[in-house]
Symmetry: C2
Subunit: 210 residues, 2 copies
Amino acid sequence: MSTTFDYVREGAEIYRRSFSMIRAEADLARFSGAEERLVVRMIHACGMTDLPRDVELSPDFAEIAVKALRDGAPILCDSKMVANGITRARLPAGNKVICTLDDPRVPALARDLNNTRSAAAMEFWRDRLAGSIVVFGNAPTALFRLLEMVHEGAPRPAAVIGIPVGFVGAIESKQTLARQRDLPFVVVHGRRGGSAMAAAAVNALASADE
Amino acid sequence: MSTTFDYVREGAEIYRRSFSMIRAEADLARFSGAEERLVVRMIHACGMTDLPRDVELSPDFAEIAVKALRDGAPILCDSKMVANGITRARLPAGNKVICTLDDPRVPALARDLNNTRSAAAMEFWRDRLAGSIVVFGNAPTALFRLLEMVHEGAPRPAAVIGIPVGFVGAIESKQTLARQRDLPFVVVHGRRGGSAMAAAAVNALASADE
């Protein structure tokens, strides 16, 4: 027996209809062009059009992040899921996408630092941090640790996408990021967030194509 | 200048507190042991304790999926993000985790089938479908196509995790899955879902450890 279901099968049309539904429902009035595309794509990744109420960006974030990507900034990711969600074909300068969580030195370093493996993995970002785009979709401890490293004098990233999800430390790490001076950021306040939303943010900043 | 923020740095303690917060807030009364652990971990992946209201499982789903994994069922994933979110150390039988989206034959096949690449990639699941765990966190078209293939006589998976996210086809594909007979399933109705939640479902079924 053959059954055919009735559904839209054309990728470009699915995107077009999805983004149209998002723009019809979501309150995007306070976002500028690049910011608006960013928030639309983050909504697309989570299916929730009420997301904008929790989004906070520094005024310079979108412009600086777009320029950094065009200039070839590496993209440092706190999890492999984030790294895998970034669409390589959208990257404007063959940007490197890096996740150091699997570095074999991480477990021992985590014990030494009394911190999570995600936080320990930040140590191996140091020599690539200057001017980078750093992306957190998973681990509040990693975001906290990055902020500690910057306070301790580590090179400054160009911009921080801070969207860890969850129950312990997520809210607090995002609030802490949003209070920093001179560190362009986007956060999703509250418990929501995650790797898909974080990767979607990079994909939106990487190209204006929809 | 050195700054240390005040946050929980111990991975096991973060999990323990997170799961405790979830169980205190979420209405989990209608779920049995393995189902409850499944829903808790899905909530953990998205940060939203109101998720249970959208969760539907067939009565046999959790038991069958747990047994299939113990018996070595392969895990077929609709996206690399899902595949990357599955914690290999939790798998009870060294289960294979497979995503066929990058198969070089997929783009041409998608054109032939007039469907998305995600749906076309299902063709390369055929010889592994029998008794498998199939996982959808991303593409409604892939879930629809899997159901079409089963109706056309393809081998039956042991259980279906159907949690695609989004605006076009997501709701409908999950409703269609939930109406099937003899295909054990879990879905999250509505637009919510995604790769992290889908991977979390596998991780919960793979091991009772928290």
